[in-house]
Assembly symmetry: C5
Homo-oligomer: 350 residues x 5
């Protein structure tokens, strides 16, 4: 949970960066293209973007780093973005959502990546402002999720150069959701190896790691569920900024998010099953331990008693004087052992 309380009491639309500051500098990258033309610029001051607003070609402005209020404010003012949208962009604790302002669509998405060191899924917030001929994307830090899309634009591979800004937005969403599959595969492998451990040698660590993965799955699911509605809404063509051919592509992303959600549910089921297996394994072990204790104890306790009886020091104990007394006691003991063993056998404890 992000420190939302920082903002409590401030008037709405006040720009405050909420979330971890993941990058030092704010980097702005601008790509302007259409079918025949391609231009890529690393931008120093935000004002350099302004002329592109009214050009008919598609302009993609990508901002890495959300902590500089003035950058986002100036951009927002020029592109006529509602102050609440700017506030949401700077506040990284949003749920995935979409809002249609007629002139532009505002989208909040989550890039997920698996942090190998912390053994945790981490989320990074990406906000998109999609206008009729521009797309502004806001990321918390530089990342390589979008680089394949960038390459496709540079090389003019696929439909992307022929299509509009809505197709670009689709391409970015597609890249984000593809990333989810990669994480799911990582998890799938971890679950498989944990499962082997579970069957061969279940330990406390096995249990801990099942619990930890369950928690990661809850986190993952929380990020993916609202995305379904977001992509589903766009794919149903509720906005005039999304052209019909792009809707088919968005339906494809929608199918993917459903597949992701489905896979998460399956993995959760698998993890729950593993938990059940762990618990029943442990309880079986416990039962076995108890049985061994019971068998040893119930066999030897009566024998020890018998030995104790003939260890008494009474003056008049006829058996002690008998010549075969000692051997008779052994016989009695053997009979006791045999009848107990056969009793246990009958009860299927042995």
């Amino acid at each position: 949970m992000k420190r939302i309380s920082k903002k409590a009491g401030l008037p709405p639309g006040t720009l405050v960066h909420i979330g971890e500051k993941k990058t030092e500098e704010v980097r702005i990258n601008l790509i302007d293209y259409d079918e025949g033309h391609f231009q890529e610029t690393e931008i120093e001051t935000v004002e350099e973007c302004f002329p592109f607003k009214d050009k008919p070609s598609v302009t993609w402005i990508n901002i890495d780093g959300l902590h500089q209020v003035d950058v986002i404010e100036r951009l927002g003012t020029h592109f006529d973005i509602h102050p609440l949208v700017l506030e949401d962009i700077m506040h990284t604790g949003q749920r995935p959502k979409t809002e249609d302002f007629e002139e532009y669509i505002f989208l909040v998405l989550k890039i997920l990546y698996y942090d190998e060191k912390a053994h945790q899924v981490k989320a990074e917030q990406v906000s998109l402002v999609l206008g009729s001929n521009f797309l502004i994307s806001f990321q918390e830090q530089e990342g390589d999720v979008f680089s394949a899309v960038r390459d496709r634009i540079r090389n003019g591979k696929g439909r992307i150069r022929k299509a509009g800004s809505d197709y670009l937005a689709y391409a970015l969403m597609d890249a984000i959701v593809d990333q989810y599959f990669i994480i799911l595969e990582t998890f799938g492998e971890k679950i498989e190896s944990t499962e082997e451990e579970l069957l061969s040698n279940p330990r406390q660590q096995t249990l801990d790691s099942i619990h930890a993965m369950k928690r990661e799955m809850i986190f993952f699911r929380k990020q993916v569920w609202p995305l379904r509605e977001v992509v589903g809404g766009l794919a149903r063509g509720e906005s005039s900024l999304i052209s019909e051919p792009t809707e088919i592509y968005l339906r494809d992303v929608y199918d993917h998010t459903i597949q992701v959600a489905d896979t998460i549910e399956s993995l959760r089921d698998v993890l729950s099953g593993m938990l059940d297996i762990y618990l029943s394994t442990i309880s079986n072990k416990m039962n076995e331990v108890m049985k061994v204790l019971t068998i040893i104890a119930t066999i030897f306790i009566p024998l020890t008693f018998i030995a104790g009886v003939y260890g008494m020091n009474f003056k008049y104990m006829p058996e002690l004087e008998w010549h075969w007394g000692y051997y008779m006691v052994w016989s009695v003991m053997i009979v006791v052992v045999l009848s107990l063993v056969s009793y246990f056998k009958r009860k299927r404890w042995l």
Copy 2:
């Protein structure tokens, strides 16, 4: 649960204060403002408010303390408020709800705060009556949740002075929901510290505190869930008293309530996970205890039996006479111990 039975059998619309009396005196504070004008008055008799009803500027009447029937009745009569609404205002056991009476909207909300002494989340009921140019708010006691809003009006910061009474209602709701985030952060921290305790040294108190937090979460959730519908309904523009620009702001509050609800669900999941971990830790400890008992008992019980045998006082026991008898018994015992230990090792109990 409030003592609702006090009212059973009375005709509807009878004004009875139900709930704790949290303040001695009823305080009425009136703020009247528009873009160019600001006036704040502490009011003695309720009649002083009446002239403001028909002034075009926005009037905010805030009443702290709900136990004086006549104050609420006179106000209600002058502002044409339905008797059932007045009854609900005085009855602090309401769920958050909204009712549209065309002339005005009636809103019931809950301010939540964390009572450090009782380690409990406490709720205070706030009722709003929103007319076209006035807003009457009823609180159980003086509080500082609304003071930031009051300051913004005084200083003319943000949009508030330019906007109507609907924006004022929004600002109050926003302040209330912001307060929820602060409580959630408190809980987040408590959960984190409890989690550390759980992993390092789980005790009965750890369990008690997990149970207590779960209960608080159920209470919290019960307050927040109906709020979603309330704010959602207003944001969908179902009432003519809410202007369109304000709807965008209400959608923002709506997003926040969903975030709150989401976070509550996450924390509940975390708490359930902690409970599972506690239980499996305890059951693991128990298993360990059982194993130690079993190992000690199963090793020594046979040995004690052997010693018992040679403690018998039979006259004719050849082994007793043997010169190396004593040492042979020791050898037998050592063989027994070694074979048992290797058995346990094979079973992975050691």
Copy 3:
């Protein structure tokens, strides 16, 4: 479950009283009123009611006792009530429901009361037939739930004398739902006292009473849930017999039923939490018992073995001859005890 099988095979509309016969005689009470006029009569033969059918004033006919087929049949025929409705009135195992026959609305409700002797919530069925200027109510026995309403009509207190039969129906529903709150308060207190017992001295009875209360809650909930739909449907103004001002009042009752349903859910959550606490308390106790057993056994079993060794009667046991042998054995024993105690301390079992 009522003995519904009594009716199996009979043609529909056959009048059979199903349920306990709770009163000996059938009592019919008739109240006829409008703003200026009030008349109350205890009626002998059902035909006395018939002239009131066409009077413009509001007529409330209340029947206590459902077992006399002919009374209900004659009334039904005169007031043109559908035979299936009459069948449902006599069959006390109905769920709360509403049915609109244009000419009249048929309502089935449940009065609940807490039977102190049986420690159970009991339900009594109330059926209302609401026409444009009359209301017929059928109860299983005389009760005092409606007496406050009757008093209000007699004294002309509140709106009731000015309003129509729909408001009277509302007043009765309101009285029934108010009764629910009283039961919930009784439960709230029982739960609180059980909770104290649970924390101070949990016993088998505590568990039994938690289970019993859970069951009562399931029963309560089953009665209240369908009521929500019933009142909600009426409050949405789906019938022409309900006037608009009464709808506002019905919305109030609707809010109350939701509050009741909500409180039931909360109490169920609390009871589930108590069950969890009981179980973990018991399992904690069990663990403590096991620990004590283990500690005592693991300390004394080796000592007893040592004592057993030197109780053997071998002729050649050098230690027995040593002068300090006895004291050395004691030393060995003390060392064993100390090392075991320190082991347990390290494992945090002591």
Copy 4:
């Protein structure tokens, strides 16, 4: 699960009897009636029914036994029934469903009865084909569920002779649902007697019978849930073959199915509660057993050790020589017992 695989690969509409063959011969019974006229015939060859198709009076053809393909095929052809409907009639593994073919409505229903020998609820499939002036019913075997309806037609009791084929269909559904109540009562009684056993003397059989009843309830519920939709759809007047007055009667059946479903849920809740009580009773007994073991063991283990010490045969053991040594040991033992007992008392184990 019926052997559906028999049909895999066959073209749709192929008539194959799937299910147990419950009767040897196929019996066809024909009743033709209207207000003034009644005729009942036992039919030899299916062709005898054909003239009745176009008679304006209501014709009820009842077929007991589904295994003769040609009977059903010839009937189907003459009455213009879709081949898939005939296939469904012969396949007894259907869920309750309704299908409207404009000319006729096809209904699948389930008669349930309690098989005393197998202690199981068994289902028999009944298919109805309802035309404007005829009703064909298909049963797996002769049964007496419909005999009361037949008697009513014979005697002209109730509305049945005056109404059309839709009312006849209603009457059959009503008879089937009434049968459900009888089974529920049987279950109610079994549950009550099991509950008494549970509280007085819980045994393995008690648990088995709770599990068995839970399973029966799952089976029962599976039959009843789809029926709700079936009857609900007919009662909402979605078909032109159902006249408006009959809809009121169907709503009554609908209420009954909801009552049945409700009662099933209640019984399931009760059974779950009984399971909880069984488990906690068993675990309480276990705890008691453990306590007794612990108390006996922890009291006697130290005493046995003390006795063991003075059973050692060291030459130099001063206590053995003391005159009051024996009595002193007894005193020590008594002190040990008393202090242990008081410890247990303090811990509330005694």
Copy 5:
């Protein structure tokens, strides 16, 4: 989970085969038929199919093997299939779904079969592209699920030769769903045999196999649930490519999928019940073991103590000198045993 990550970053519509390569060669089989005409060809190069596109007779092109990009691409280009559809066809990790492209309907289905060796349900993806007079089906490998349909076309059995391509699509779906019933029967039998084992001799393997079957059921369900929507959507007649008579047949398939889903839920309930029974059986056994231990221990521990007392070597122990001392000790022991046994009897532990 299939290796979806292979595709991450590629532009949409890039054809990559994802999934196991189950066959070496790609086989294309073409059937062209109408009421009077039938032609079946094994095709070498994909271009041979092209002339059939515009023939009015129904053409069924079946492709076994999905790994040759160029085959699918050339076919797709000629038949004007959207690149995303081709991508989905080659990607075998799809959920069952339907997409309507006006000119054709795209369907993804899953053939399930039970792999006897791996004791697992395996899924094979089948994609259908249904045009107005052609149907292209894509399978991962050759299989015999569709051979019955093929035979029906060859022999002109049933409606199939008279109907259009939509009926052909229905026939294939029907064949797939029939296959599900066969698997369910296999499971039904396995569950029955496991249940017998559970009641006669529950072992660890029994538990493992219950867990394994539960997992298979989760997998099965995941395949079947989306199919309901797919078939349901087609049966509701949402597409102009499906003729009305075929809709009736599709409703039949829809009923079957619901039956499958229902049966899966029932089997899951049965498996959960079996799990409960296993656990309670195990816990009952454990209790029995504990009781035996307790009874043996609590009987012999006091006796051993008594024997120990008279094994002490004190010089002055009067009892030892008594002539009947030994017999008196035996009497005391017998009294102890009898009173303990009667105590256990009273507690119902024996």
